[in-house]
Symmetry: C2
Subunit: 125 residues, 2 copies
């Protein structure tokens, strides 16, 4: 038998790569936190701001706009005085949260082992 040539997957950076085009979009600092905040139901701008601890007004606005553009979130303006704006997950947004939740659950379970690994690595380097 000769050597066997194994064909291995190549990860291109074109527009069809779902990692680079879909996952990358929610891999920023705030997207996931906002999505999870909205799982419990629609919420208003300033309520979100106080629940996503540490986010600035600027980044909350910007990230919500991005999530809206992707189709994960709807923005509804109620013309009261003062104005009231509610953000809510779309059906697609709720669908996205499921695999994200699996990921976060995994992270919770493995958090301690990861912390241990970091310490061990830092000690031997």
């Amino acid at each position: 038998m000769g050597t066997e040539k194994v064909e291995r997957r190549v990860f291109n950076n074109n527009d069809d790569c779902p990692i680079r085009n879909v996952v990358a979009q929610i891999g920023d600092k705030w997207s996931m936190l906002i999505l999870f905040s909205l799982v419990e139901g629609p919420d208003r701008f300033n309520a979100l701001k106080s629940r996503v601890v540490g986010i600035s007004q600027r980044m909350l606005t910007q990230t919500l706009r991005d999530l809206e553009r992707e189709g994960y979130v709807t923005r509804t303006v109620y013309p009261e005085v003062p104005v009231k704006v509610e953000y809510e997950l779309t059906e697609m947004g709720r669908g996205l949260v499921k695999p994200l939740y699996e990921l976060v659950s995994w992270a919770q379970v493995n958090h301690n082992e990861i912390k241990r690994s970091r310490k061990a690595y830092d000690n031997r380097n």
Copy 2:
């Protein structure tokens, strides 16, 4: 009945948040692509470099070190001449790939709808 106060989750930015401490780490530009490249088996530095299209030598090294530090990847040096270095997923790394795969599958399925949403958003803005 009075108004009902619904207790909503708050996302703090302390060290115990798995999103900010575990997921954030793999939310960078290259980590996921490298993890998926290694699913098919151990691989060498330059082989990885050519499969993860577009990555620079610098970022491949750096990201591999980070993945090693987290405990997702092992680095094995074979003292041949020239030296041979193999990277391989740990058991934890293989565990992480599962929820990641769910996420990427979701992304693939919904990629078209997301693209449509982006266009619609851009047209009305």
